[in-house]
Structures are given as structure tokens and as C-alpha cells.
């Protein structure tokens, strides 16, 4: 019976998609509200709150929000440096890059994951490509690049990192000061 209920839930007719859904769905869908709140927490570097919110997000509500839930789960996992399976995160974002080649947020996240996995050569190559096109989505790609660089280059990446976060500490490395 539970299986039948689950099947019915999965096959249920999806809700209407309004073209200005950024305004509509974000205020009418509980799941999307949870996801956007999670995004806000990630942007604030409050990963603990982000992880808590993610636990409340319904799984498999529809394919698009499920994809988003998985993206955010992998970002939080990667940045919490906890019991993470970095190799799995790398595989996850490699798959996303393949699926959505025009979404360079995934490419930057892959670079970040490669760095966390210790594959610095690969990470640097990917992140420099993103930097070269000036499409780095947030601070973390530049933070990884700074950690892999020295001298003026490192200072430049830290500066770019600081521009892309509200955190006063994220882009400060040992002996370096983040200049905004």
C-alpha cells in the first residue's frame, strides 16, 4: 500500500509552471521555499543551518527540485569538510557538467570538489578556465585558486574571493589579508 501511495505521488500531475515562477513558486511551494532558504544559508556560509534545512526538503517531489536538492546537498557536504566522500562529490559534479554543459556554476563546483579531493592540477585547470571567462559564481572557486597560488596571484584571488562573499573570514588565509 505504501508503495502504491509512493507511486501515485511520483506520477501525480505536476503543479502549473508559471513563467514568472521565481515570484510565484518561491512563495507558494513549501519545498521550494526550503530550497531557497538553504541557498541563502549557503550564501551566508552558514552550513549548519543549511544542512538542517536540507533535511526538511522532501525528496523526489519532482525531478527539477530533486536535482536542486541533490546539488545543494553536495555543496553543503563538500564545504562542511566533515564525513565527506569527496570522490563521490567529484563524480556528482562531473555528471552535472556533462548534463548541463552551459551551466558553468557546475564547472566551478567541480573545480572546487577536485581541489577538496586533492587533485590540484585538475582543479586549477578547471577553475582557471572559469576565471578566464569571468563566470566564477561565488567566492569558493577563488578561495581554492588562492590556496593553490603564491605571491601576487594569490593576493588577487583572495581579493576576488572577498568580493564574492559577505563573510569577513572566509577569504583570509594564514598571513594574508583579504582586501576588498
Amino acid at each position: 500500500m505504501r508503495r502504491l501511495a509512493l507511486l501515485v505521488g511520483v506520477l501525480a500531475v505536476p503543479s502549473l509552471a508559471f513563467p514568472c515562477d521565481n515570484a510565484v513558486s518561491r512563495e507558494t511551494s513549501e519545498n521550494i521555499k526550503l530550497l531557497t532558504d538553504t541557498e541563502r544559508m549557503i550564501a551566508k556560509e552558514d552550513l549548519v543551518s543549511a544542512a538542517k534545512l536540507l533535511k526538511k526538503v522532501h525528496k523526489n517531489e519532482d525531478s527539477r527540485t530533486e536535482a536542486k536538492r541533490q546539488d545543494l546537498t553536495n555543496i553543503v557536504t563538500m564545504r562542511q569538510h566533515g564525513e565527506l566522500d569527496v570522490a563521490a562529490v567529484v563524480v556528482f559534479f562531473q555528471k552535472r557538467v556533462k548534463q548541463e554543459s552551459q551551466n558553468w556554476q557546475y564547472k566551478a563546483l567541480l573545480g572546487e570538489a577536485l581541489f577538496e579531493a586533492g587533485k590540484t592540477d585538475d582543479a586549477k585547470k578547471v577553475l582557471l578556465e572559469v576565471h578566464g571567462k569571468d563566470v566564477m559564481p561565488d567566492a569558493h572557486g577563488y578561495l581554492a585558486l588562492a590556496k593553490m597560488s603564491n605571491g601576487d596571484e594569490r593576493a588577487e584571488f583572495l581579493k576576488a574571493c572577498a568580493k564574492r562573499t559577505k563573510s569577513k573570514t572566509l577569504c583570509v588565509l594564514d598571513g594574508d589579508t583579504a582586501a576588498k
Partner: protein, 420 residues
């Protein structure tokens, strides 16, 4: 003599030729450009409700939209300024086909009180020609002679003032243009007796003397219909229609234009005046770009004042919209996907797919040093003034330009390194 020639019945051969004229079917183009998201088009199915811009806006404004809490709906209502009324294309057969074609290729502001305008589509001349042909294929050739004598024109001007056409219509550049009348004495007046859209085609007299309306009546008229905003600037009438078509329209208007019970002779003289009275050239001022601000500008301010006010309606997050990220993201209105999501800092920073199919930063500098994003915002001012910027489509598409102050804000934010 002219009338004899113009009014003669078509010969059998001419009738046969007319009957054999191939019917144009531009339905595929209406679908491609998603015209029915805004316009009613005869014999073309309307867009589904969840894609219908006007229905959505009207429902949100009227409080009948089924989603969202009362608090949320009340807030949304305050945001709805535009796209509540859009011209029906059922009456487009009064227009010249070549004008429709050119307008589709280079849209400009025809209706000064309608916030939204026809968007500048990515449309070819051939496509525009086909659409114009379908919209005008049922037009009846007028057999009336055009009255262009100076006496007719002069009488037409008197009639224009007596009928108070300026209550609804601007006539920019014409001596009879009367902005104070249009703006302050109540565009609602000619529609005060309108209780429902059906009344617009009834014969009930609806003219009321200036000042006789109550504030409640005025509000009710505006709230119920507000279709005065559809009144075109008559400056363009001579390009849009033949003099004969203007006269026929005045005598027997359709759609949002209420009948003023104008006699045929009066309609002819009004048309003569509208089509022939001299017009002052319009002034074009498009460059109001302001210098960068000295103070610091961060994302929150830019997001609230610009990106989340307008832009993200068409540049949305596809994952939160069942895959439809809007025309500027996943594609629509005939535009292919450009993958530009303007709803978060991360998304806007990640660039967009250019016409070459490659990813580009939206902040890349053009040869004159202007960031691409800012160039799009400035281009909208040029378009609003009747111009076109080659290679740069004005944004927001089909909406009033963003103020120079807000462009200055975006400009400064970019120049300062896009501080989060």
C-alpha cells in the same frame, strides 16, 4: 467622378480572383513567438493559463489568483503595474499590413499609457510579413473616398475637440494634442458607463460631461476596465491606417474603443484631420547615462532595486519553475535558450550562452568599455525613443526602461568588482 470609379462593384473576374487569393496561415509563427501569451488572435488557441501573462496579471490584481496566501497575494497585487491590458489582434485588420510588418521588426511606443510595449522579437522580415498578412487578410477594402480638403481638415479639428478625443488619445506633435486633458480630466470619463466588456460594443451612450462623475465612478471605471490605456497616440494613425480605414473605425469602432456615435460625414472629417494635420518632429533624447557613484554598492541593493524587481520574471531559475526558466533563460517568445538566470548572485555571475553557443560573462566590456549588461539596459532607452542599437537588444524586453539612476547603480556595482 472619383466616387464612381472607387465605388463600382468588382467585376466577376475580380471577384473570382479575390476568392482564389490563397489564405495565409501564420499559426506556426504565432506559436513560435508565443503571441497568445499576451494577445487574443482570431482562430488561434489562447496560451494555457499558466503561460498567459495577461490572465495571470489580471487575476493577481483582481485577487482571484488561486495560489498564495492572502498576504502574499496582496503584496503581489502591488507589484502588478503592467500587462493587464493588451490590444486584441481581432481588430488588427484595420491596420496596414506593411505597417504591422515594420512594427514587428522595429517596435516602438504606440500607446503612451500602456507600460508594456510590443517586445523587440528575433524575427525575420519574411516572418513579420507572414504574420501581417494573416492579421489583415480579412480586411475589407474601403470604397469611401478620402476627404482631404482643407475645409474638411479644419472641421475635423473642431470635431476632435468637441468629441474630446484627447480625453483618451494623445496626439503628440499635433496642435490639438492636450496632455493636461488626457492626464488630469479623466480618461475614465468616456468609459464611466461601462460596466462590463460587453458594454464596449453596445449602443448605450456613455459620454459624460467633465466633472459630472463621482470619485467612485471614476475609480470603478478605471478598475473595471482601464482600457483607456490602450488608446494609441494618434501621431502614428496615418502610418498605421489609411484615411478611409480611420474614418470607418471612428464611425464603427470595435474592441476597446467605445462608440461615440459619430456620423459618417463627421468620421470622414475627423479622419482627414488625423491623417493630415501637420506634426512637429519628436525629440529623441537617449543618452542620460550618469557617472559612477562614489559610495559603495553591494549586491543586496542592486538585487532589490533592479534584478528582482523586473529582470527575473524572464530570467528565472528553471529548477524552480518546472523547467521553464523564462524566455531569457530556457527560451520563449521565439528566442532560443540563453541560459541567463538573474535571480541569484551565483546565477548572474555564471554568465549566459551567446549567439555563438558559447558561455560569456554578462559583464564583459564592449569596445567602448560599457559592460554588456549595462549596454542592454541603455539600449532600451534608445528603443523607447524609436531607435535601435545594432546587436544589442534593449532590456527589459517590451517594458519601460530602467531609470538612469538604477542603471547607474548597476554600472557602479560592476565597476567596483560586483561586491556581494
Amino acid at each position: 467622378m472619383v466616387c464612381v470609379a472607387a465605388c463600382r462593384k468588382p467585376t466577376k473576374a475580380e471577384q473570382a480572383a479575390l476568392a482564389e487569393k490563397p489564405r495565409v496561415d501564420a499559426t506556426a509563427l504565432f506559436v513560435k513567438f508565443e503571441c497568445t501569451r499576451c494577445h487574443e488572435i482570431p482562430n488561434v488557441a489562447p496560451a494555457p493559463r499558466d503561460k498567459h501573462c495577461v490572465q495571470c496579471h489580471q487575476q493577481i490584481h483582481d485577487g482571484t489568483f488561486e495560489l498564495g496566501s492572502d498576504e502574499v497575494k496582496e503584496r503581489w497585487k502591488g507589484h502588478i503595474h503592467s500587462i493587464r491590458w493588451v490590444p486584441s489582434l481581432a481588430a488588427a485588420d484595420r491596420l496596414r499590413a506593411d505597417w504591422i510588418r515594420d512594427f514587428l521588426l522595429h517596435p516602438h511606443d504606440v500607446r503612451p499609457d500602456l507600460e508594456a510595449e510590443m517586445p523587440r522579437l528575433d524575427i525575420t522580415r519574411d516572418e513579420a510579413t507572414q504574420i501581417a498578412a494573416q492579421l489583415t487578410q480579412n480586411a475589407e477594402s474601403s470604397t469611401a473616398a478620402a476627404a482631404t480638403e482643407s475645409s474638411n481638415i479644419s472641421r475635423g479639428e473642431d470635431l476632435f475637440r468637441n468629441f474630446a478625443c484627447g480625453r483618451c488619445h494623445r496626439f503628440t506633435g499635433a496642435r490639438a494634442d492636450n496632455p493636461p486633458l488626457t492626464e488630469t480630466t479623466g480618461r475614465a470619463l468616456p468609459l464611466l458607463a461601462v460596466a462590463s466588456p460587453d458594454d464596449l460594443v453596445s449602443d448605450a451612450p456613455r459620454y459624460m460631461p467633465v466633472g459630472s462623475e463621482t470619485p467612485e465612478q471614476r475609480i470603478a471605471a478605471n478598475t473595471v476596465m482601464g482600457s483607456w490605456a490602450l488608446a494609441p497616440d494618434l501621431r502614428f494613425a496615418r502610418d498605421r491606417m489609411t484615411t478611409e480605414a480611420i474614418a470607418a473605425w471612428i464611425a464603427a469602432p470595435r474592441g476597446a474603443m467605445p462608440s461615440q456615435h459619430v456620423k459618417p460625414d463627421d468620421a470622414n472629417d475627423l479622419a482627414a484631420f488625423i491623417a493630415n494635420t501637420p506634426l512637429e518632429p519628436t525629440s529623441v533624447t537617449t543618452n542620460g547615462r550618469l557617472p559612477l557613484l562614489a559610495r559603495e554598492v553591494a549586491w543586496d541593493e542592486v538585487e532589490q532595486r533592479v534584478f528582482k524587481k523586473v529582470c527575473w520574471h524572464c530570467h528565472a531559475t528553471a529548477d524552480y519553475a518546472m523547467g521553464d526558466g523564462g524566455p531569457g533563460d530556457t527560451g520563449g517568445f521565439g528566442f532560443r535558450a540563453h541560459d541567463l538566470d538573474l535571480s541569484t548572485y551565483e546565477a548572474i555571475s555564471s554568465g549566459a550562452t551567446g549567439d555563438d553557443g558559447k558561455i560569456h560573462s554578462v559583464f564583459q566590456k564592449l569596445p567602448d568599455g560599457t559592460p554588456l549588461l549595462v549596454a542592454h539596459l541603455i539600449a532600451r532607452h534608445t528603443e523607447e525613443a524609436g531607435g535601435i542599437v545594432a546587436g544589442v537588444r534593449g532590456m527589459p524586453l517590451g517594458l519601460p526602461p530602467i531609470s538612469w539612476e538604477d542603471i547607474q547603480l548597476v554600472d557602479t556595482w560592476i565597476a567596483q568588482g560586483r561586491q556581494r
